[in-house]
């Protein structure tokens, strides 16, 4: 025979439907969102993970200043280090040989000339000619007639040959000696001291690109920078979300995300450089899942940056300079990050030494595992799922505790029934199963509905959220066992365990104690002393003490929700704050970085712009102290990129104090540095470090930078006195040829991070805020309901005694209100501090700096939002109290 207690369960569900409805909705939403997140995650990741093989993703790439010779490519392919010593010796000998040959020629010429002159003077003397004018004429004639022959004859002499040989030998020895003397420094500089260098054979692919201005609406104004690759590239291919690859030189395929942001579609015409192209495809490059223009960008920019594909013929019609980028793949395959890091560093040595000996220069080097554009999206998708799952567990634990408190309350209410059942022969186990069934059933309903939504509506929502931010390839629906485990099995276990512990503990008491309603486990012989306040205050305090477990869960929930609200308000505030201050953050409206200080005619690049001011700049790295395992969490994973500026004396853009190095306030805040500290920055591709004693901090939030006067800069970095890297300017410089300009930084570039983030999160954040209010209200509703249920009898009694509903409301609602208000404020303080800390931790892993900021009104609203949620609950509570009949106390026959 079935346990007759089972019949109570549907009745209980019907009687308390509103409570269970809130819990089920709560769980369905949480589980649905997390399940959708996982299913979306697994679907996207399946598609992303298939990409490297399907679209031949590189293992890394490098850009050279000039097109690499076939010999250089061949040697790089072998992955061996070049013989740098021999290169320096050969280079030295070549230079020395030229100098020696010139010295010998000069010397021979001088000696033969002198010998001829001496001979003519001897002859003139013998003939008694003393007129100096005549003698000089004779010498000139003799030189004209005999010099070449005499030099030729002298060259044939054994003495001369020996002298020449000696001179060359001596020069060569000097060169070798000089190289050897400087070898230690060279070894250190290029990190060549590895005893047994293991070669890294690679296959190299041309991956040249051009960068042009993109004009989406053909209004003649640049809308974005577009990076164009050729359609016949054998590496880093693209998936097509819509349309096809270009087939004629007037067709173009562009990034889907950028097209969506720019409002262009297949069939539209855009201007790239000076040429118009018709969009025939929307693509997702396997190495540009996020549109990071530079690997050191704080955030990708799918508004201001685009990647595109042209036919080789179309590519050749463009006029901007070609970036000689080469992609490579290791011959040896590995997925291991440490092995990849090792291979990357070994290949870099090969690259540095080979480009050195072939007289080329590295413009950029980026192993794929550090590439933000291909790793940011998967890391973020992974991180989001983990974060959401943790949030889900916290909420499920909160619900489990609410359940536990409710059941505790029910057990107390039904003490005599339980006592009677136990006395009649029901086992403890049977009662445990009975009281456990409700939370388990509700969790199962929540999990089942949540999973259904997770595979349908929420999955589509989650996937579309990512498609709104990232340039992802198309994806299908994938069955996710992680979703099942994390959204169904773990919450069930969590709910089961928490409730089991509470119920088992409660049912430990003897049947007699249940019959006597003696369920207190407190050993206190007297009540807790409370201050001599007015009776009503003391009554409220007692209610507060009575419901401490409820309030602990409530406080926990309130703090958790405040943390979320701080994030919901703080992120847009921080972004807006950054965007608002972007123009203030720039010390110059325009910052032009030049390819070099001289043009192709070796003339200094000048401008007629009156506000232009020269500066020197160099990018160095500040050690981040990250280990390899953290590299893919956020950011490029490399050491922090620091721009060192050399500023002109009496600069109208940056005012420096006394001599020394000054750091930007962003640098100071991010790493806690200040005046008096010493920092060491190092070169990216050379093992060379520079120490700086910080003399002060310059108020500049726009980037991590070191400032010093230009003379000191040029001296420190072995540059010529007049050398410079670019111009600061208040107005646009129009008289410098574009081919000499490497980059231009304006306030818009500073703000692009905020535009991107607002686009990615803006709408979601607003929804998130309201969800949190509902969540807060639901949580407080459940706990407040328990408090009132628990005191239903007392409330009924005080009604009998003549208390008014308002007075009773103030007794039973006010303690909760006080707790909610105090902990909404305290929770805000905790949430705010935690967000600042979390932001800092994240920023330390990312490139650049971004400060967490909340507007004062947002701070107030963070608390007010929660209180609005609570206000609704307190109105419901008031009516609930009002509805409690007096016969609850009168009917009490226990």
């Amino acid at each position: 025979m079935k346990n007759p207690l089972i019949k109570r369960i549907p009745k209980e569900l019907v009687a308390e439907w509103h409570k269970y409805a809130v819990i089920v909705i709560f769980m369905v939403l949480m589980i649905g969102v997390v399940s959708g997140m996982y299913v979306g995650h697994d679907s996207l990741m399946a598609s992303i993970n298939a990409g490297p093989e399907e679209f031949n993703l590189e293992d890394g790439c490098f850009e050279l200043k000039k097109k690499a010779s076939q010999e250089l490519l061949d040697d790089l392919g072998k992955g061996e280090m070049a013989d740098v010593r021999q290169y320096f010796i050969d280079k030295g000998i070549k230079e020395a040989d030229g100098e020696v040959a010139k010295a010998i020629d000069d010397n021979l010429n001088e000696e033969v000339t002198q010998a001829i002159e001496d001979g003519v003077r001897e002859q003139c003397k013998a003939y008694g000619i003393t007129d100096e004018q005549m003698i000089k004429e004779q010498i000139d004639t003799a030189l004209e007639d005999n010099l070449e022959d005499a030099i030729e004859e002298a060259r044939k002499s054994e003495d001369f040959k020996k002298a020449v040989e000696d001179a060359y030998n001596e020069a060569h020895e000097e060169v070798i000696k000089a190289v050897d003397e400087e070898w230690d420094e060279i070894v250190k500089r290029y990190d060549l001291d590895e005893e047994s260098f293991i070669s890294v054979p690679i296959t190299i692919y041309d991956h040249f690109y051009r960068e042009e201005a993109e004009d989406n609406n053909n209004d003649g104004i640049k809308d974005a920078t577009i990076r164009i690759f050729k359609s016949d590239s054998a590496i880093d291919k693209a998936a097509f979300n819509a349309g096809r690859a270009p087939e004629t030189d007037t067709e173009i395929a562009i990034d889907r995300m950028h097209a969506s942001n720019a409002g262009v579609e297949i069939g539209d015409t855009i201007r790239v450089g000076n040429k118009k192209f018709e969009i025939v495809g929307l693509l997702s490059y396997v190495n540009y899942l996020t549109l990071h223009e530079s690997n050191t960008d704080l955030m990708f920019d799918s508004f201001g940056f685009d990647v595109a594909m042209l036919t080789p013929a179309g590519f050749d019609t463009l006029t901007s300079r070609v970036h000689y980028e080469y992609a490579y793949k290791y011959e040896e395959k590995t997925e291991d990050k440490i092995a990849l890091a090792d291979m990357g560093s070994r290949f870099l040595k090969s690259l540095i030494t080979q480009t050195l000996v072939y007289d080329n220069e590295i413009e950029d080097f980026l192993p794929e595992y550090l590439r933000q554009a291909s790793n940011f999206a998967p890391s973020d998708i992974d991180g989001d799922s983990t974060t959401t799952a943790v949030l889900c567990y916290i909420l499920i634990a909160v619900i489990a505790f609410i359940f536990a408190i409710t059941i505790n309350n029910t057990i107390e209410k039904e003490a005599s029934v339980i006592g009677t059942l136990r006395a009649s022969g029901y086992s403890k186990g049977e009662l445990i199963v009975h009281y456990m069934s409700m939370p388990v059933i509700v969790t199962l309903i929540g999990a089942a509905l949540g999973n259904v939504l997770g595979y349908t509506a929420f999955r589509n929502l989650m996937v579309s959220l990512y498609y709104e931010s990232y340039s992802l390839p198309p994806c299908g629906l994938v069955w996710s066992k992680t979703a099942l485990i994390k959204t169904t099995i773990i919450p069930l276990i969590l709910m089961f365990l928490i409730n089991l512990i509470v119920i088992v503990k409660k049912l430990q008491l003897s049947p007699l104690r249940f019959l006597r309603h003696d369920l207190t486990t407190s050993k206190r012989s007297k009540a807790r002393r409370i201050p001599a306040w007015s009776f009503m205050k003391r009554f409220r305090l007692r209610i507060l003490f009575q419901n401490i477990p409820n309030y602990i869960v409530l406080v926990f929930g309130v703090i958790f929700i405040e943390l979320m609200i701080c994030f919901a308000f703080g992120l847009p505030d921080s972004l807006n704050n950054y965007a608002d201050k972007a123009s203030e953050m720039m010390f110059a409206e325009y910052q032009y970085m030049l390819m070099g200080s001289k043009d192709s005619d070796n003339e200094v690049i000048e401008t007629s712009e009156e506000t232009a001011e020269r500066f020197s700049a160099k990018t160095l790295l500040y050690p981040r102290n990250n280990d390899v395992s953290k590299m893919r969490a956020f950011g490029s994973g490399k050491d922090e990129s620091i721009t060192v500026y050399g500023i002109a004396d009496n600069s109208s853009y940056i005012t420096l104090g006394a001599e020394g190095a000054y750091i930007s306030s962003a640098f100071s805040k991010k790493y806690g540095l200040g005046a008096g500290d010493e920092i060491s920055l190092h070169e990216e591709y050379e093992n060379k470090s520079y120490s700086f004693d910080i003399a002060g901090v310059v108020d500049y939030e726009g980037g991590l930078a070191v400032f010093m006067d230009r003379n000191s800069f040029n001296e420190r970095f072995d540059m010529d006195e007049d050398d410079f890297s670019g111009y600061f300017s208040r107005n646009e410089i129009k008289d410098i040829d574009e081919e000499y300009i490497a980059t231009v930084i304006t306030a818009d570039d500073m703000a692009k991070v905020t535009v991107q983030l607002m686009h990615s999160f803006g709408a979601v954040i607003d929804v998130f805020k309201y969800v949190l209010v509902v969540l807060a209200a639901a949580l407080i509703y459940l706990l407040a309901k328990i408090i009132i249920e628990k005191n239903e009898h007392s409330i009924s009694m005080v009604k009998i005694l003549g208390f008014l509903n308002g007075e009773i409301g103030s007794l039973y609602i006010l303690p909760t209100a006080i707790v909610v208000i105090i902990f909404a404020v305290a929770g805000f303080a905790v949430g705010y501090s935690l967000m600042i800390y979390l932001f800092k931790v994240i920023m330390l892993q990312m490139d650049g700096y971004f400060m967490f900021y909340m507007k004062p009104e947002s701070m107030v609203l963070s608390v007010v939002y929660l209180l609005i949620g609570y206000a609704f609950v307190s109105v419901i509570d008031y009516f609930r109290i009002k509805k409690i009949p007096m016969d609850v106390a009168l009917k009490n026959v226990e």
């Binding site: 309603h517 003696d518 009540a527 009776f535 005080v798 009998i800 005694l801 003549g802 208390f803 009168l890």
Partner: protein, 233 residues
């Protein structure tokens, strides 16, 4: 008459479940009288008490306390009436579990501007040493004494007691009845006591027997037996 109930009718339910609990009951109790309402289960004694206490409304008839017509009063007026006039004592005490003895008594002290002296009351009821205990830490008798103290602190003109000794042993019952007797003598409190106990009728001024919702018998005790001498409690 201090309490004047005239032809009060009260029914519950509809159709098949319709029950007429009071079928035109009329009773009167003088100020300062102790009155017992007796009857079998379902006779309507608790319903009558609840109607007088303003906890339940009546279908018809009149119910006046100190000249105030209870029937038809709005909820807030009924609250004022209970607050100003009544004290309640129940069989199962109905104490607020999270308040101490003193605080439970304060629940009613709060409702009046002219309360009795708390310490004196605690002393009188033998609760002084238990004042800071919670109800769960007390015996049944102590809890009922607390309930009595709670009812008395506001010095009510009318004390309504629904089976005040129903959950107590005979010794404790006697103590409680002695206490009620003392209070009646000391403060002149009018008391209506609903009880099953047959002995209690001997200590009060007036006895009312209800049977099937009607007054079966009512009389005034010519010779009252002091509570301490009651037998078979």
């Amino acid at each position: 008459m201090y309490v004047e109930v005239s032809n009060v009718k009260k029914s519950y339910g509809e159709g098949g479940s319709y029950v007429e609990v009071l079928k035109g009951v009329s009773v009167g109790v003088e100020r300062g009288e102790m009155c017992v309402i007796q009857g079998t289960s379902g006779s309507g004694k608790s319903t009558l008490l609840n109607c007088i206490g303003g906890l339940d409304d009546i279908d018809s008839g009149s119910c006046k306390v100190d000249g105030l017509e209870i029937a038809g009063l709005k909820k807030d007026k009924l609250s004022d009436y209970r607050r100003d006039t009544l004290g309640f004592i129940f069989q199962f005490y109905n104490l607020v579990p999270n308040l101490t003895v003193r605080e439970n008594i304060e629940v009613c002290r709060y409702l009046t501007k002219d309360p009795l002296d708390m310490d004196e009351l605690l002393d009188t009821l033998g609760l002084k040493e238990h004042a800071d205990k919670f109800p769960s830490q007390l015996s049944g008798g102590q809890q009922q004494r607390t309930a009595i103290a709670r009812a008395l602190i506001k010095n009510p003109k009318l004390l309504l007691c629904d089976e005040p000794t129903g959950a107590l042993d005979s010794k404790t019952s006697r103590d409680i009845l002695i206490l009620l007797e003392k209070i009646n003598e000391k403060y002149g409190t009018t008391m209506l006591i609903v009880t099953h106990n047959n002995s209690i009728k001997n200590m009060v001024h007036r006895v009312i027997f209800l049977k099937d919702g009607e007054i079966a018998k009512q009389y005034t005790n010519e010779k009252r037996v002091p509570a301490r001498e009651l037998e078979d409690l």
